[in-house]
């Protein structure tokens, strides 16, 4: 089996040669196809273990039912519309919270970064907030905003806000000074310099924050829905557990995984589109 050493030190044309000839090296050990194929095998193996471990009595069937039963429960929920209702509830909450975080954190972060004194003033405060677990604040949100939608959206907003804000600040603040110097040489106004130089330079860093926020949005929301809600994926999972509908509970869990994957995939695709110049 080829190991890391063999793969990384494989004989290949150097980058200059590749660039001059307009070609890319193809690894003997690890092509694109081989990678995908191996990944697929990994997933199939996981599915087989999940299916047969309960059947063979390696784990308690009541607590971990075989995958086929879980998928069956999943299918039933899709057919009955139960899944759609709960998924929609979760999606609306996380999308609203996430969207609000986007439109507030990016402009605020950019403004903070642009004025170093403001940055000095806010950095310690932001560090405190960043290190406060969003879920720890759920009681506060419930106290102030009640048990309804607002408190759940607020907690998603809180969880998404800080990754985006802090990444926007660091992205704008760490713009290459040489680019700013050349903007000054061209006589650009500060506003134009920000718009045409500092902000575009920060976009990749901001996107990293957006991706972290996307993952946080789902994570925090599911947890919040487990505590007090009448719809949503978190509610579905705890409700199923309380009623000992174990396959249904796993179906809910799989849905959150798929949702998380889909959101991350979408954000990565968006990131690639906006930072095409890096690849």
């Amino acid at each position: 089996m080829p190991d890391l050493l063999k793969e990384k030190t494989e004989a290949k044309p150097n980058p200059r040669q590749e660039a001059a000839a307009g070609v890319h090296h193809v690894s003997r050990f690890r092509g694109r196809f081989q990678r995908l194929w191996r990944g697929l095998i990994g997933i199939v193996l996981l599915a087989l273990i999940w299916e047969f471990a309960p059947r063979l009595g390696l784990v308690d069937r009541h607590f971990v039912p075989p995958l086929s039963e879980v998928l069956d429960a999943w299918w039933q929920m899709i057919r009955s519309g139960e899944l759609a209702t709960n998924l929609r509830a979760s999606l609306v909450r996380s999308a609203v919270g996430f969207g609000l975080a986007l439109v507030t954190a990016i402009p605020l972060g950019a403004a903070i970064a642009w004025y170093p004194p403001v940055r000095d003033l806010t950095t310690p405060v932001l560090e405190i907030f960043r290190n406060t677990a969003a879920l720890a604040l759920l009681p506060v949100f419930v106290l102030i905003l009640g048990i309804g939608e607002t408190s759940k959206i607020a907690i998603v907003l809180f969880a998404c806000f800080f990754p985006i804000l802090l990444n926007t600040i660091s992205g704008v603040a760490s713009v290459d000074p040489q680019l700013l110097r050349s903007a000054r040489v061209l006589g650009l106004s500060p506003v134009t310099t920000f718009r045409k130089v500092a902000f575009p330079a920060a976009v990749p860093t901001i996107f990293t924050g957006i991706r972290i926020a996307g993952a946080a949005a789902i994570l925090v929301l599911i947890a919040a829905e487990m505590i007090g809600a009448t719809a949503g994926l978190g509610y579905l999972i705890t409700y199923s557990q309380f009623n000992f509908l174990i396959p249904k509970m796993y179906a809910g869990i799989i849905t959150t995984s798929v949702l998380g994957l889909a959101i991350n995939f979408g954000l990565v695709a968006l990131e690639r589109r906006f930072s095409r110049w890096r690849y």
């Binding site: 110097r181 050349s182 903007a183 040489v185 330079a201 110049w277 890096r278």
Partner: protein, 274 residues
Amino acid sequence: MSSTIELKDVGQVFRVRGEDDRQLREFVAIEHLDLTVGAGEFLTLVGPSGCGKSTVLDLVSGLTRPSAGVVSVGGKEVTAPGLDRSVVFQQYTLLPWRTALGNIEFALEAAGGLKKAQRTARAREYLELVGLSDFAGRYPHELSGGMKQRVAIARSLSYQPEVLLMDEPFGALDAQTRERLQEELVHIWEATGTTVVFITHDIDEAIFLGQRVAVMSNRPGRIKAIVDVDLDRGSPDDDVRSTAEFARYRHQIWTMLREQHSPVARLEEVHQVA
């Protein structure tokens, strides 16, 4: 289009903190510096590293104001950056999210006065001047170091400045690319007639490019001597760098730089802030 550059008794002082004793001090980068560059002239500036070459360029470009003395371009005192002057830095300062063409358009957008289509046409014209017409749609990361610096030069020339300031623009390039770009730069200078101030620490480069070579002293930087270079550069096929005259200039400047190469001198130049 070209302008005279004049620096009169210019000094530049920065605030620094000592690495060993943590004391605030004044750091005298340049002191009593006088230099005049004629309109349309190609002047190269050589000096030991850390002698304040780049500081001179920052002053002429208007990025910083001098602590003492007067800097003027075209008879007017320099108080801020302006589109009559342009700078090519050593590090490639292209916007990585814009294509080669887009980077030149960026400068033209800043300069103003042209419509979108005119900007594109002008940008193409200057890309052609530096021989990169085929690479208009490439992003900087897809260009070699030499190509990036060509784009930077095209960008600087595109808004037709009267003075072109260059801070070791070829310093990061390999020897062959550097020589080719030097030749191209001379052609471009002849074609545009812009005043050029070119900073380098490479003596050969200074002699090959400059009509005059200004030699700076150790910090605090001053102009130590100015050498008139009278070389028959002739056709590009003649290897002017290997002629006897070239070697003589080289030796003359090398000797000047060598004389002041005493590292002890540098340490004593720091004045403590009271």
